[in-house]
């Protein structure tokens, strides 16, 4: 079991850039517009517009291109698989045939279209997490979902839980590591045998881990109550979110861009 030294949680790259400085709510909504926009285009002009827009966002955000491309890593198999099945199984005018294998003109177009769409979607969503810290995202989500409070949606509680969880993931990773080492020192064999045997070896790690979680939860709940935590009503923030005119401009621009990309797509040139 490889352990997680120097592991960084999430993908956030802290850089001083105009994109990083934007309000998280603005970034979440703008990303949503972009994802819908990318999903709706299917001709070269639409994809070209989105590629240009994406390149502009990346350069404004001052994120190294290598890191942006690495957001595709978890899905590259999916991208390759999707493109390949389209390449070989789309009916149409053949441009290449060799025995059973037949590649059609339409197949090539579909393969490129689907591959490009998938990569753009994943990279646009990746830009959100590259430029916005998880805590900011949690705050942004809380604010965006707070109108639903009147229907009983626990926006504040969810955001509070996300913030607490984010704080405790590294702590719990350390605890797991510590307990695993302690059990290995006592002769536990965590890396041998099939899944069932490993699971059984893992029980002496899991039980103390859960006991620790319950105790910590108890301590933290007591500490919060001692500081008079009473839920979302009337709570103030250390770093309140501030919506600036620049955020409004960016949001309107991305919405208009998405509409324009969808409207212009296929207007002048179609495949």
């Amino acid at each position: 079991m490889k352990f997680l030294n120097n592991m960084t949680l999430g993908q956030y790259v802290p850089v001083d850039s105009p994109v990083h400085a934007m309000d998280p709510r603005c970034k979440i909504l703008a990303t949503l517009f972009c994802l819908i926009g990318v999903f709706m285009v299917r001709e070269p002009l639409g994809f070209a517009l989105w590629c240009i827009f994406f390149a502009a966002v990346v350069s404004a955000a001052k994120i190294p291109v290598r890191l942006v491309l690495s957001t595709i890593r978890p899905v590259w198999i999916l991208v390759a698989f999707t493109s390949v099945i389209h390449l070989f199984f789309t009916q149409g005018t053949p441009v290449f045939a060799w025995g059973m294998i037949r590649i059609t003109h339409e197949g090539i177009i579909m393969a490129v279209r689907m591959g490009l769409r998938l990569m753009l979607l994943v990279m646009f969503a990746g830009m959100l997490t590259l430029t916005t810290s998880p805590t900011e995202l949690a705050d942004g989500l809380e604010s965006l979902f707070s109108p639903f409070k009147r229907f009983g949606f626990p926006a504040h509680e969810m955001a509070m839980m996300m913030t607490i969880a984010l704080r405790f993931i590294p702590t719990l990773l350390n605890e797991t590591d510590r307990i695993m080492k302690a059990q290995i020192a006592r002769g536990a064999e965590l890396e041998r045998g099939g899944p069932l045997r490993r699971l059984r070896a893992f029980v002496p790690v899991l039980v103390p881990l859960f006991v620790i979680v319950f105790q910590r939860a108890d301590d933290l709940a007591t500490a919060m109550e001692a500081r008079n935590y009473t839920g979302g009503e009337g709570r103030t923030r250390m770093n309140p979110l501030e919506w600036s005119p620049r955020d409004s401009a960016a949001l309107i621009f991305s919405l208009l861009f998405a509409i324009a990309a969808i409207a212009l797509d296929g207007r002048f040139f179609t495949l």
């Binding site: 079991m1 490889k2 997680l4 949680l9 999430g10 993908q11 994802l35 819908i36 999903f39 978890p74 899905v75 999707t82 099945i85 389209h86 199984f89 789309t90 579909m110 689907m114 998938l118 979607l121 994943v122 969503a125 997490t129 998880p134 989500l141 969810m158 509070m160 839980m161 996300m162 607490i164 969880a165 984010l166 704080r167 405790f168 993931i169 702590t171 719990l172 990773l173 797991t176 099939g194 899944p195 069932l196 490993r198 699971l199 893992f202 029980v203 899991l206 039980v207 881990l209 859960f210 006991v211 979680v213 319950f214 910590r216 939860a217 108890d218 933290l220 709940a221 109550e225 839920g231």
Partner: protein, 167 residues
């Protein structure tokens, strides 16, 4: 906010955090590349302790965190189904506590159903027309999701009696 509510909120947050922490720990690497983790175990335990509604909350939080910390989005419905809904589905384990295995099976099946549905949505949008999307999705997800869920159920079975003593 009374004591119990804060307690549930904090414990749910920690259960979600532990689910995330355990998701980075590979118990077993499958031959075809997927991996088995114990990420479901804390969420199952939490929902068994505090019930369906609390479990839904903790599950959605765990899903959202996984999405933020390294998930991917290829389709709007896939983002919802693969992350918040899949984890929240585990909390259906609370609808049937006796026998314990029945509830756990319901929770695990619900999560599996979310992933299969998300796969169907994905393949419907990206695979050529005429592909049998249900079969593709069930095979693709079943290959790595099912062993993980089965092992989680076994883990709960071993751990639950021991934790009841601790409280």
């Amino acid at each position: 906010m009374e004591n119990r509510k804060v307690r549930i909120l904090v414990e749910g947050a920690l259960a979600a955090a532990l689910a995330l922490a355990l998701s980075y720990l590979r118990l077993w690497r499958m031959p075809q590349g997927g991996s088995i983790t114990l990420e479901n175990v804390p969420l199952f335990l939490f929902t068994l302790r505090w019930g369906l509604k609390a479990g839904l909350g903790a599950g959605s939080v765990a899903g959202l965190l996984q999405l933020i910390l390294g998930g991917y989005v290829v389709h709007p419905a896939q983002a919802l189904l693969d992350y918040p809904m899949a984890f929240a589905a585990l909390s259906l384990a609370a609808v049937c506590r006796r026998p314990l295995w029945a509830g756990l099976l319901i929770g695990a099946s619900a999560r599996f159903a979310c992933h299969v549905l998300s796969g169907v949505v994905f393949f419907a949008a990206y695979a050529p027309e005429g592909t049998n999307v249900w079969a593709y999705s069930a095979i693709y997800n079943g290959s790595f999701m099912l062993p993980s869920l089965v092992l989680s159920i076994i883990a709960i079975y071993i751990i639950w009696p021991r934790l009841e003593k601790v409280g």
